[in-house]
Symmetry: C3
Amino acid sequence: MIDLDQLSLDEIKELITLAGSIRKNPWAYRESCRGKIMATLFYEPSTRTKMSFQTAMYRLGGEVIGFDNPDNTSVSKGESLKDTITVVSGYADLVVMRNPLEGAPAAASLYSKCPIINAGDGGHLHPTQTLTDLVTLYNEKGRLDHLKIGFCGDLKYGRTVHSLIRTMTRFPGSSFVLISTPELALPKYVLDVMDAAGCSYTITDRLEEALPELDVLYMTRIQQERFSSREEYERQKGIFVLDSEKLQLAKPELKILHPLPRVEEISVEVDSDPRASYFDQTVYGVYARMALILTILKSQSRPEKRKIPRSTHPHRCSNPKCITQTEAYLPRVFREAGDMLLCAYCDSGTLI
Amino acid sequence: MIDLDQLSLDEIKELITLAGSIRKNPWAYRESCRGKIMATLFYEPSTRTKMSFQTAMYRLGGEVIGFDNPDNTSVSKGESLKDTITVVSGYADLVVMRNPLEGAPAAASLYSKCPIINAGDGGHLHPTQTLTDLVTLYNEKGRLDHLKIGFCGDLKYGRTVHSLIRTMTRFPGSSFVLISTPELALPKYVLDVMDAAGCSYTITDRLEEALPELDVLYMTRIQQERFSSREEYERQKGIFVLDSEKLQLAKPELKILHPLPRVEEISVEVDSDPRASYFDQTVYGVYARMALILTILKSQSRPEKRKIPRSTHPHRCSNPKCITQTEAYLPRVFREAGDMLLCAYCDSGTLI
Amino acid sequence: MIDLDQLSLDEIKELITLAGSIRKNPWAYRESCRGKIMATLFYEPSTRTKMSFQTAMYRLGGEVIGFDNPDNTSVSKGESLKDTITVVSGYADLVVMRNPLEGAPAAASLYSKCPIINAGDGGHLHPTQTLTDLVTLYNEKGRLDHLKIGFCGDLKYGRTVHSLIRTMTRFPGSSFVLISTPELALPKYVLDVMDAAGCSYTITDRLEEALPELDVLYMTRIQQERFSSREEYERQKGIFVLDSEKLQLAKPELKILHPLPRVEEISVEVDSDPRASYFDQTVYGVYARMALILTILKSQSRPEKRKIPRSTHPHRCSNPKCITQTEAYLPRVFREAGDMLLCAYCDSGTLI
């Protein structure tokens, strides 16, 4: 599970249904993974994501090993990703990997003896967050089609935003409202995805304007370092702060999501509004991950060692954050798209 | 379980009895918490306390998630205590919190969806250590009433001393001998507690003088940084070192306790004396925590979301280490005591 | 289990047989240690070794507590090894200790209330790695006698090399080829062990020369800091790099082992050669540790508190890395060997 786009819509719906069954009757599943071990390889710390995965595995009866700081590991002695994953996938039945380098889980999956779940690879993908969002939407809104979703805040760097939009374009009738400053606007390639899917969207920098028509509001954290100066940050951030006053403009059946942690972009007073779903979202996240772990461990017998593909092109990926920059033995695999080569690991385009 | 004073004497006795039953027959309890998850949120590291809680939970068949270093968590991204506890209490069935800020567990309990155990909040409270001390005393002395207990060392900053004295004043016939330098003497408010309970106590700076009459000697670590100079430390520390020679003055049925770690205040030669109970004390600590966890998880169905109280006063708590200093959204709740306001979180007094 | 030399050849063979049974039918053992707790006390980090032990214990149904960084523990407050092991062995059923000081596990075993496994004490011993090597050899070669084993790389500092040689001299017909630069040659005392056992060995600095006759090639990591200069390192390291070309000289039934992590001393291309056993070796390591844990926990009822031996000599061990240098209370125990005193903890010789 490197990318949610690997899954068919039916497979996604099955995961959502399974998450619902687990939620209704968690004790029926508490021995489902007894005797199984999940390894959490966190090349950068993310306690929240790790705790969610650990909780999911423990509630299925399994055990967890792993590290959250490569400084203390063989990695710091110069070990390659290939060697680390080969060894650890010999210990565990399932590996959950978080890595600041884009495409690392895809690269690791070439050598792993067991399934890998991508728990975030830099700014690239974070599929279990998106699955969490889908489970939340389905349960809180009762459907995944014909939803008008507003995204507010940092739409440029927010990988959870890109990922959720891409997945929602696969459901009929999705439309989007993009609420941000021009500096933090959605990248063109995501706009292209919406266009290609025939989804309608509007762009605004006024949260108040957008609020009345939304079924869902997806808030994101605005990081101060994205702005040119402290002053610029202070001047702009208020525009994208959701408070009780602004919320009076919204529908009663609106649902507010946020991938958390939240800093100041949602006032504390909103927490007690019944439309606030961002804390429930973290609980749905555990059920989403339980469904994913269970599906992977049940459906798959240990996969045959994957055939390592050959390099398709002599080029190097030009993305400086791509895993191929540090792991030189990786075959150089690209797919062609017009005059671009798209890296098979990080999906970045390199001009030929 | 924020403060042992919340519990009635009967409830404390029930915990001690349950700890005894578990000690006698631990295997009868090894599935008692199967399927339950405890989260250990340690905002400052304390490996010993954490290992004791983990051992307790594992011996009950449960699982443990958590962190021991907030640097790697959402906290370092500016997340509030309220948000952290809201999310984590959605993952776990029980939260154990250690925090350098006083009143943090009390504050967290306002927002938590599950019970919270205070595993130490700065210099304020450490109720499971006190429960450990009580279980040790009951098992080693056969009773909790009519004990003459000497406290030796750092009585000024030792929260375990303050806490145990406060609890022992609730048992009939307790009397105390306070052995320290004037600089490290017991704070006046603890003396007041003893007076109010009608307990007798004597004050001395001579361990040898006190030893012959004691039923229990509670030693504490003297931290060098408490003294005005290295010379002062070296000059004074010997007075409060327990060795085999001094121990000849004591009753044969004396029991020696120490919250550990011990540095030099008890000579290694004392370890093999049958009166040394400080290592057994750590084993009793596991049974004490097992009894507490089991009682909390059995008796309580998930509590209704607590009603957040309103601020009772416009004042701010004046304790610079109070949790309200950093978490501005907390309601300002005080109880009046004469011309003082006592903070509902850290119990510090603020002059009106 | 401080030193593999404690065990008789029959006991070693029983462990290897048990590891084989577990490997064939792991699910038969998955409840064998239910309710048991293993403490991993890692005074220096070693994520790989720790994950292997954790995996072993979880696959037996047990639980794990511990620390991997003494900075956050009572140790940093000045606690002695004696106190730490006394407390932790009261929590756990089994302690796994890694310590940069030589002889630390032997010292700890004097005070522990439960069995201790040495998971590496500085450059001294690492018996579970050797047990892993033996299990690998037995399964990959079908026998442990009459093997010609080449050791290549850093033979001076590689404790796994010393330890495996010492153990292999106990099996009939072992012979050795020692492949290294003079600077990294095997220490004389290991040569003496081979001589005493009547084992033949040859010394060379040419990997190509040695390869054709070997049954087993044991590669080790050459650490750059062992060389006098960067240039010297670059010049020499190539000689000891195993690649596909050199491998053409070897027997088809050769097996290549490596304690990992590997850096550049084995080319990545060798990984897909059927003679490469170094990744399988890590999987055998889990079975080896399962066999060891199971044997220890089954066979031993909690040992009586060990009688602390008296000092046999007034001398201090002269090894600056010996645990007796920091833990002054340890009795000074030596055995005499000619004009040397051999330290009972670190086995180093001190001239009388």
